[in-house]
């Protein structure tokens, strides 16, 4: 079984923050990982924590590391520069957003299984919502010709679209950039025009469920990069399960990319 899974060193290590870039509502944090593998698979993720003062935020958190898809990996002389796109929504992401160059970023990874190749005879189509664009960035680098459909809340979030090469189609909830529409409306139009695609999607749960339903109706294969609350990221805690047709699966070892056909319907 050749899963898209690059193995991780079995320990936490400390990368050095080399860049911090504000992109509207998001931050792009880059850190140089001195000893990790140079070729993670798009869709894989890392467990991250600030090496210092990881704690003492809201409710005396964070305590555990947080999961982040890598958005970019570049081999550099002293290691792999890994970039993460993050949205500060709580004590963990807020602390990470405060990281400054030269601070330590503790990480474990790459973890999980990434995106699988497109089904024979289909073209890849990337669909991202909000912070869910992160794993699509590196995947798009491997599939430069793939069409990219992106949806954001508004202009500040939509700045992340600039990270994509080529011309992604962008829509926003408030119409401030592109049309006022849901990204799934773009997807429906694309599928209606040509259903011979493999869809790769990442975004909020409601969006992923809509993508799943749209694809299921049309028998279109879809790979969804999903999220759930994680404590460990390597199958140790059994905390990150999502329901599938085969029962609960741990998203950190059996995902985060799941084939939409294994998911139970929302109903």
């Amino acid at each position: 079984m050749s899963e898209p899974r690059t193995l991780a060193p079995p320990e936490r290590r400390v990368a050095q923050v080399s860049g911090v870039e504000r992109l509207g509502a998001y931050d792009l944090i880059t850190a140089v990982d001195p000893t990790g593998p140079t070729e993670p698979c798009p869709g894989q993720f890392y467990m991250l924590a600030a090496d210092d003062a990881w704690g003492g935020g809201e409710d005396e958190r964070p305590y555990l590391p947080r999961a982040f898809s890598y958005a970019r990996a570049r081999v550099e002389p002293d290691g792999v520069a890994l970039s993460f796109l993050l949205e500060a929504i709580g004590p963990g992401t807020e602390r990470l957003a405060l990281l400054a160059p030269d601070e330590g970023l503790a990480l474990v990874g790459p973890l999980g299984v990434g995106f699988r190749p497109a089904v024979d005879g289909t073209r890849p189509l990337l669909v991202g919502g909000g912070i869910g664009v992160a794993p699509l960035l590196c995947w798009h680098e491997e599939l430069p010709d793939a069409a990219v459909l992106l949806g954001f809340r508004g202009a500040s979030h939509a700045q992340a679209a600039a990270l994509f090469a080529g011309e992604p189609q962008v829509v926003t909830d408030d119409g401030s950039v592109g049309r006022q529409a849901l990204v799934t409306e773009l997807l429906a139009a694309e599928l209606d025009a040509d259903p011979a695609v493999t869809v790769y999607a990442c975004g909020p749960p409601a969006m992923l469920e809509a993508v799943r339903a749209l694809c299921a109706e049309r028998d279109v294969p879809a790979q969804l990069a999903m999220e759930s609350g994680m404590a460990c990221g390597f199958g140790a805690c059994f905390g990150c399960v999502v329901p599938t047709r085969d029962g609960y699966v741990r998203l950190c070892v059996d995902g985060p990319v799941l084939d939409s056909s294994v998911l139970e319907t929302a109903a």
């Binding site: 079995p10 320990e11 305590y63 759930s228 404590a231 390597f234 199958g235 399960v241």
Partner: protein
């Protein structure tokens, strides 16, 4: 090397049951995991007679320096464990301890008998303390209940029997004494401390299982007190755990009377935590002499 219940271990650092899945970890880390295996003995996740799916998500909630889990003992059941997990666990470079839990004395007996006869298995741990499944409280919180089940299963295997204690009891030391008198070779403690979280938006319980168990740094001081209280009352070995994250923490538990320690939640923060604790502990031992006779070098 240390000796724990007659079994030689390369050191005193175990994992807490259910906090490290060596099979899944090998998928993530490959054989490097075996080369740098973080523990001196491996304790399996608790198994039950029948397979279990576990509790509905969400299963996790982070607290100040801690984690509440409501996992609900998902496992393949006795048959599934023996057929598919045991062969893989047998490849680990350290002795294997299998944790078992039953919803009745008879179920426990069936598990002890079946697992106890396997050569791959060095010791058994009886989980009578899981706060997520009702029977756990009943068996492990009352000395008499504990004595009853330990007496029932004790004759069924010659392997060392560890009884894992719950902290959610008025007097864990009395339960430990009961376990010892009924034939246990060691006690391990603590399991998680009962806890709960409220959904920030709905005001309803956050966890799918409604309540859960707190682990991690938040419970270390509580665990240490219970380990000291238990170690003062029993002659058998005590395996201490609860929030251990450094060699100094491990040394504290040993100073309180533990013969060995286990790492749980800290492995979630660093899969190599067990190795790090062992290294730090070895360095500290040079300066701080162990006081517990059970932990002496063999």
């Amino acid at each position: 090397m240390i000796e724990l219940c007659g079994v030689s271990l390369r050191g005193p650092v175990l994992n807490g049951s259910g906090t490290f899945d060596a099979i899944a970890a090998r998928r993530a880390f490959g054989d490097a995991l075996l080369e740098r295996f973080p523990f001196d003995a491996f304790v399996s996740k608790t198994i039950t007679v029948e397979p279990r799916q576990g509790n509905p998500p969400p299963r996790l909630w982070e607290t100040a320096g801690g984690l509440i889990n409501s996992i609900g003992l998902p496992n393949k059941g006795l048959r599934g464990f023996i057929d598919s997990d045991l062969p893989q666990l047998a490849e680990l470079p350290v002795p294997l301890i299998v944790s078992v839990m039953g919803f009745s004395g008879d179920e426990l007996a069936a598990l002890v008998a079946a697992v106890g006869e396997r050569d791959e298995v060095s010791m058994l741990e009886l989980n009578v303390s899981c706060p997520n499944v009702e029977t756990g409280l009943v068996m492990g919180a009352e000395p008499a209940e504990t004595a009853r089940v330990v007496e029932q299963v004790r004759p069924l295997s010659a392997k060392p029997l560890i009884v894992k204690l719950t902290p959610n009891a008025t007097e864990p030391a009395a339960v430990a004494v009961a376990a010892q008198d009924a034939g246990a070779d060691a006690v391990s403690l603590v399991n998680t401390v009962k806890g709960m979280a409220i959904h920030p938006e709905t005001g309803e319980p956050w966890l799918g299982g409604r309540t859960g168990g707190v682990s991690g740094a938040a419970i270390r001081a509580v665990a240490l007190e219970q380990v000291a209280a238990v170690a003062a009352r029993v002659e058998i070995a005590v395996i201490g755990m609860g929030g251990i994250a450094s060699g100094r923490h491990a040394a504290d538990f040993i100073a309180a009377g533990a013969s060995a320690v286990a790492i749980g939640t800290e492995s979630f923060r660093d899969p190599a935590a067990g190795l790090r604790v062992a290294t730090e502990l070895a360095e500290l031992s040079l300066t701080r002499a162990p006081r517990s006779p059970a932990s002496t070098t063999v």
